[in-house]
């Protein structure tokens, strides 16, 4: 397991070096920062092993509170980058609170569902609290504005809720509600640029210079990789700055361009091995909280990866979702590594329950 994680992160670092490679000084700082966060994350994994994950059951509301505070702080004093307020400047690095918040949401939902689970399925009334928990994050992040992460919260909520047992009536009400809410949301809540992103997704070629540009360029980068790629450090799309955000959201484009179909296949094999292993942890856990927590973390990583990959390949609109472990970004990397630490923790203690 750890091997897979190390492998993915190593590929990410190698790729990051290429993506930012231009002979400039900033190259190395980005690379070294990511390396630092990776090593810090690994030590976190060790620390996480020291205590029982089940302690989170008692801490979950505190953690949730911290996450809300951080999100509020980012809105109030956050530094404004590219028109969004996603970061809190901590001096040595800028924290993106929406990243740990994803994990906090997973923990909170797992705790709630664990406590209320009666085995007979959840009614719609019982779902109100998890909805509120998710909704608060959703709104706070949407105000930054960061539609991608906000939808991510919704995704986590939906996956975890579907995982626990629901009454059929509940499912019906949710579906009905959603189909009513979506058009209204489109009309009143989405900002014009967010609407435009979705519109251009539907026909990216219509506007190759503006919104469709990222998708076009990314597709060109991926496609031009052919079977074996252009060779490390030889990708032209990335190095000549045609690819936007090539070290963050579009890191995989650079990888696919330089390593081709073969390299991408290898990467995906390792990545999905890791995810399936995570799912296996979920099955191996002998207590319901562990199961829910593991499933939440897996779905968190999985959905981000899927959305990112589909976006890079031009199947989804451009939303700011990184590829966990692979894209540059300290907050995301740390969150993912902590999540993986928790998974390992759950796996390590899978037999302790029986003993008690």
């Amino acid at each position: 397991m750890l091997v897979a994680v190390l492998l993915i992160a190593a590929m990410g670092l190698v790729n990051l070096y290429s993506a930012t490679y231009a002979g400039g000084a900033s190259t190395t700082t980005v690379f070294i920062r990511q390396l630092f966060f990776f090593l810090a994350g690994l030590s976190f994994i060790m620390i996480i092993h020291l205590f029982d994950y089940r302690l989170l059951l008692t801490w979950n509301y505190i953690l949730y509170g911290i996450a809300v505070c951080l999100l509020l702080a980012s809105l109030l004093l956050g530094s404004n980058i590219a028109g969004t307020q996603r970061w809190i400047n901590l001096g040595f690095f800028r924290l993106q609170p929406s990243e740990p918040a994803k994990l906090m949401l997973v923990i909170s939902l797992a705790s709630y569902y664990y406590r209320k689970d009666t085995g007979r399925g959840f009614t719609i009334g019982q779902l109100l609290i998890p909805m509120a928990l998710t909704g608060l994050f959703f709104i706070l992040v949407l105000m930054q504005p960061d539609l991608g992460t906000a939808l991510m919260f919704a995704g986590i909520f939906i996956s975890m809720t579907l995982f626990v047992k629901l009454k059929w009536s509940t499912i019906g009400i949710i579906f009905g509600g959603c189909s009513a809410v979506i058009p209204i949301g489109w009309q009143f809540f989405l900002k014009p640029y967010q609407k435009q992103r979705i519109m251009t997704f539907l026909s990216p070629e219509s506007d190759p210079t503006n919104s469709g540009y990222h998708i076009m360029q990314s597709k060109i980068a991926v496609g031009s990789g052919l079977k074996f790629g252009k060779g490390y450090l030889k990708g032209t799309q990335g190095h000549l700055h045609f690819l936007p955000e090539r070290h963050t959201d579009f890191a995989f484009s650079v990888w696919a361009e330089e390593w081709g179909f073969a390299g991408s296949l290898f990467f995906l094999a390792v990545y999905f091995f890791m995810i399936l292993w995570g799912l296996n942890v979920c099955l191996a856990s002998r207590d319901k909280f562990g199961v829910l927590l593991a499933f939440g973390i897996v779905s968190l990583i999985f959905w981000q990866a899927i959305i990112n990959l589909l976006m890079v390949m031009g199947f989804l609109p451009v939303v700011g979702i990184p590829l966990p472990l692979f894209s540059y970004g300290g907050s995301s990397l740390m969150t993912t590594l902590i999540g993986i630490g928790l998974l390992m923790n759950i796996r390590m203690r899978r037999n302790q329950v029986r003993k008690n």
């Binding site: 597709k219 000549l240 207590d287």
Partner: protein, 631 residues
């Protein structure tokens, strides 16, 4: 509140039934994961393997931009190889809209930097709206150094904005020979269709008039291509191999720069033409039309305001007067009348007519320009003093149609065939022509007018010069030409132009000799009409002419000054020198200049003086060199 310990121990276990259910759910989740893996793999396959080559091409196009490089246009040289026109670098501001993430802001910034109104810049952008997006839009031409440096230094703030260096015509002697040289302009659709498409594209400059147009194919050279690797902001990263440009060929003219400059200086402020030709070849040494065109105004397209000013100018700068200006020949035509008279045997050198100052014909009196009369005149004096009555008599005896025959033989009334655009043929009337054109029979009285070059007669200055050349060289009508040779960029002569004899008049030399003698008298005799053209060391022969314009048309100008100007006669002077062994012929026409003797002859004199001064200088230099060699 439970203690942590309690929480841990009380943690609910997963029972068998739940485990079963859990299995089902994780299996479902696994299915979801596998589904997405399949989607991603399929997509990856399509992008990288199936359509991979397509994207590869796109990636290459993305980073490599093909740029056309305009070749440096050929130079124009004078007959001694001195450069008249060359090229200089011209720095233009161009903008690739595709490369600008925020076009409005760029335009705003540029407006400030270029000190140009936003509306003007936007207009240029709109005009180019139909071009592909990656084709640069020209925003401002020929920017100064300060702006250039500023933009170069700030180019990271101005994505998509580039500086394009294009060769631009550099007129070393300003408006030198402007009508002859012509100008360049932006290629239009028709020209684009006619020309070789590989070497031309929209927005290119092409010769529109004059030599620039006639020798476009020689001057243009061949376009090159440059492949430039660029990044997404349009910044050039490095240059890849491309095709070198091939500079255009140089044109060496027959024109003598010194003489042309002298003529243009003498014509300053006047309207008219000066033509000088080498008597033994038909090489044009001076080919000047006044007033000149200001060629710089035409670079990059002339403004409507300037164009209107040119159209409205009473001195008609747009007319190339050497070949397009048609004027009654006035007394210069007496050369033709004399030749016809001698050839037909109507007169001999000794035939004398009495001039009383006028001559009665029918019920009208035809006056001589000298009211007191010349008394008894023979051919020599008639030409030297330009006696009208003498030529009335000769004209009457020959008749209009024979006169026309000799005029035609001397090259009048039809195009000289010079390799140039829009030449006019002039008009030499015959009785048949009048019947056809006016529907009325020829009146003998009209023959009198024709005999002294008035009436329907129309000639161009080039025709008169060609006639003078034939007179001087004993009857050879050379086809006038302007280009001596075409030289490729390596200095190799690729084409040389030889004199072409158009017509050779046989058996007329003795008559021409008599006329030449009369023309020497006109310049050198005590009462000669062309005395103003006299030179100290060289015998000049010439004929004055004063062409009346008043009776011909009604003028619509209301401006009195304009009317006065337009009523004045055209002044002619045509000459050759040295009389004994002619080398050069010079013809001058000054529109509404008044008398030929006073308005045109001095101009011809200046050109001739310059020509012979140059020759003496050359000879003294040679003599010095020889001396040096001997020593």
């Amino acid at each position: 509140m439970q203690s942590p310990k309690e929480t841990l121990t009380k943690l609910r276990k997963v029972d068998a039934e739940e485990l079963n259910q859990l299995k089902k759910r994780t299996d479902a989740a696994t299915l979801v994961i596998i589904f997405f893996i399949a989607v991603i793999l399929a997509r990856l396959w399509f992008l990288q393997i199936h359509y991979g080559s397509k994207y590869k091409d796109k990636a290459d196009n993305n980073r490599v931009r093909m740029l056309d490089v305009v070749a440096s246009r050929g130079n124009v040289l004078d007959r001694k190889g001195r450069t008249i026109i060359t090229n200089r670098p011209n720095f233009n501001i161009v903008w690739v809209k595709e490369d600008s993430p925020n076009p409005d802001e760029i335009i705003k910034k540029l407006s400030r930097i270029l000190n140009e109104e936003i509306a003007v810049l936007l207009k240029r952008v709109r005009e180019a709206a139909e071009n592909p997006r990656h084709i640069p839009i020209l925003l401002q031409e020929d920017i100064d150094w300060k702006t250039l440096v500023y933009i170069e230094n700030n180019h990271y703030d101005l994505p998509g904005v580039r500086i394009e260096v294009l060769p631009r015509r550099d007129y070393l002697y300003e408006d030198f020979g402007s009508h002859m040289i012509g100008y360049l302009g932006q290629i239009n659709l028709k020209e684009l269709e006619e020309k070789n498409s590989a070497n031309y594209q929209g927005g290119d400059q092409i010769g529109k008039r004059g030599l620039e147009k006639l020798y476009e194919d020689e001057l243009r050279g061949e376009k090159g291509t440059m492949y430039m690797e660029v990044d997404a902001h349009g910044f050039e990263q490095r240059q890849l191999k491309g095709k070198e440009t091939l500079p255009g060929n140089d044109l060496q003219l027959t024109i003598d720069m010194d003489l042309q400059l002298e003529a243009e200086k003498a014509m300053a402020g006047k309207a008219g033409a000066v033509v000088a030709m080498d008597v033994k070849s038909g090489r044009l040494l001076v080919f000047a039309s006044a007033p000149p065109l200001h060629l710089e105004d035409f670079v990059g397209g002339i403004s409507t305001k300037n164009w209107q000013a040119l159209l409205g100018n009473i001195k008609r700068p747009l007319v190339h007067k050497t070949i397009q200006g048609q004027y009654p020949p006035g007394s210069t035509y007496k050369i033709v009348t004399a030749l016809a008279g001698l050839s037909k045997g109507v007169i001999t050198p000794n035939t004398v007519f009495y001039c009383s100052g006028s001559m009665k014909f029918g019920n009208r009196r035809y006056g001589c320009w000298k009211e007191g009369g010349h008394g008894p005149v023979s051919l020599h004096r008639a030409l030297a003093e330009s006696c009208d009555v003498y030529f009335y008599q000769v004209g009457l005896k020959i008749g209009v149609d024979s006169l026309a025959e000799y005029a035609n033989r001397m090259g009048l009334g039809h195009k000289t065939g010079i390799d140039f655009e829009y030449e006019k043929s002039g008009l030499i009337p015959t009785s048949a022509w009048k019947k056809l054109a006016k529907g009325v029979s020829w009146q003998d009285g009209e023959t009198l007018s024709i005999a002294i070059g008035q009436g329907f007669n129309l000639v161009t200055p080039l025709q008169v010069c060609q006639m003078t050349v034939a007179l001087a060289n004993g009857g050879i009508l050379y086809k006038p030409f302007l280009v001596e040779k075409i030289i490729d960029p390596e200095g190799q002569i690729i084409r040389e132009f030889e004199p072409i004899v158009d017509v050779e008049l046989i058996g007329m030399d003795k008559y021409l000799e008599l006329i030449r003698d009369g023309l020497v008298g006109a310049v050198n005799d005590r009462h000669g009409t062309g005395k103003e053209a006299q030179l100290k060391d060289v015998t000049v022969a010439g004929k004055t002419g004063t062409a009346q314009v008043v009776s011909m048309k009604k003028f619509q100008e209301t401006d009195e000054e304009d009317v006065a100007y337009k009523h004045k006669d055209h002044a002619w002077f045509t000459s050759f020198a040295p009389a004994e062994n002619p080398e050069i012929a010079v013809t001058v026409l000054v529109e509404h200049g008044g008398h030929g003797g006073s308005a045109a002859a001095p101009i011809a004199k200046k050109v001739l003086a310059r020509y012979f001064a140059q020759k003496t200088e050359l000879e003294t230099n040679k003599a010095k060199e020889n001396q040096n060699v001997l020593q």
